[in-house]
Symmetry: C2
Subunit: 316 residues, 2 copies
């Protein structure tokens, strides 16, 4: 029941765990092995980290998620870390927001928390290209750009939250005013317990709902047992799971296998997101959605295979 240094100066190990997502045990073992971070101690011998420590740890965590080895990063000097960041900048995925999206302007709007500017951008894109293109050609690439800007230190945590919040609001709002008569399949959307990013889920929901599928989202962080019972009670045809890049492949495989075994064969499992590795497709009855843009194709395929031809025709 220690103090929790909610304040600005020095932070306890719990606070750092919250801020960075790095478990206490990991922070301690890094200090033991690599000498970083090296917090001072209070009168009681407890670690007190600085704000700089936290910022550097956040950066390191991002880079680890990108595939860098912890040993390298933790031994690196400030300058070496900068060099890695530069390298990362170039190596970024070749995907960019398509023509007409002034990336710099978007970043500037996010930086000054400009709600109307972002809403306008989305609204315009919606009118010009439609909902599905908004998601696959604007939001998806923007996510990548923003992740990269974060690594370069051009955006902070609150800016990222702000962006996420705005996108979610807009998509949910649009979804709400866009009810088509519901048709099969019934899709249950969620993520496994250690995956807390719900934006991908919402993007998929938008793509599916646009095609008239019946979506039921449980939000992120759902225990496996509960996914199973929910899928059964809601008579779902498909369970859709989202994985961010940081999700350990091993764990994804284990989780999806277990879930697969516990659901009847009539229920399909779809996995998507940056962390949805090809190998997941190796499990029978599991489909990997490579790019968000392909969701409608996957849906059409499901309908062709599972529905009588007549009702498929009626949907178009």
């Amino acid at each position: 029941m220690k103090h929790d240094a909610n304040g600005f100066g020095r932070m306890t190990i719990s606070a750092v765990e919250r801020e960075t997502g790095l478990p206490k045990d990991t922070l301690r073992v890094w200090e033991r092995r690599y000498g970083f971070p090296q917090p001072v101690r209070d009168e009681a011998g407890e670690r007190l980290y600085t704000l700089e420590d936290v910022n550097r740890l956040r950066l390191i965590r991002r880079l680890i998620d990108q595939g860098w080895r912890p040993g390298k990063l933790l031994a690196a000097s400030e300058a070496e870390l900068q060099r890695i960041v530069e390298a990362e900048r170039g190596a970024g995925a070749p995907v960019r927001p398509d023509g007409g999206v002034p990336t710099d302007e978007v970043l500037a709007a996010i930086r000054r928390h400009d709600v109307p500017a972002l809403r306008d951008l989305f609204q315009r894109s919606l009118l010009e290209r439609g909902l599905q293109a908004l998601v696959s050609d604007l939001v998806a690439p923007l996510n990548v750009v923003i992740g990269e800007a974060w690594i370069r230190g051009e955006l902070g945590v609150p800016e990222e939250h702000f962006y996420t919040e705005q996108v979610q609001s807009f998509l949910r709002g649009t979804l709400a005013s866009y009810t088509r008569p519901a048709a099969p399949p019934r899709v249950l959307l969620t993520t496994l317990p250690e995956e807390e990013h719900g934006l991908g889920l919402l993007m998929v929901e938008v793509m599916l709902a646009s095609e008239g599928a019946q979506c039921c989202s449980l939000g992120p962080r759902m225990p496996l047992t509960d996914i199973r019972t929910s899928a059964l009670t809601s008579a779902a045809d498909i369970v859709a799971l989202s994985f961010s890049a940081a999700y350990p492949l091993r764990q994804a495989l284990a989780g999806v296998r277990t879930l697969r075994d516990s659901l009847p064969d009539t229920v399909d499992i779809w996995v998507g997101g940056a962390g949805a590795h090809e190998r997941l497709a190796g499990i029978p009855g599991v489909s990997v959605i490579g790019a968000i843009r392909t969701v409608p194709d996957a849906l059409a395929e499901w309908r062709a295979a599972r529905l009588p031809a007549a009702s498929v025709a009626a949907l178009n």
Copy 2:
């Protein structure tokens, strides 16, 4: 880099931490002190908890949040725990959803994951009574009812998620289609880092936006330093924070005080939610919003005090 027993049978201590929100250290010290939970060990001597352990831990956590002492609960037998649950049932807050809301039907709809039924309920309430009443007279009491049903074991985790998800979708959707020309004040909405419930935030946002205020929500879990910089860059007039009942008063006081000290006097701080204790009002420049229904009053008061009389009149 241990396995994580994502599966159904036995769970590692990490998995239990995720599922229950109880830190590993606490789980171990409870075992040492009270003899519960008492997990078996695997070949490597590591704890393996059963599903029953987890369910009981979840219940205990809820009861602790309600004010019960851990020692009592952990020493209690299954029967005693049941008796406590019964007692809790009666002691529940006297607030109930107002006339016309068939609580049992709502619970049933949630239990069978019935999206259309819930949407209908909200839609009807919206048309009959308006957005603000929907939030304060339907959603707010429903939250209480559902929390109680959870304690009694009548609802599970996924049902609660499902409900939250539906409410958020509906509110966000309505909000999106309800843009009035923006007027002062500018309000920044968020929660402190250890508070992850964002529904209250959204409810406040709805109340404020209905009155034409300019809201900028950062979502939950925002570090204090970031709240400060965000408030300054977005030129906020008010920072609104939400606290759930489980939030330790001590920590709320410390956090709000620190924030207060770091913001200029021209920025008001509003705190609300079940965890917003009266004592927070003792801090100068901090207002406690007792019930969600009083948000419009607080807003009117702010406008009367801070805006020229003419522009206040123009808003009505």
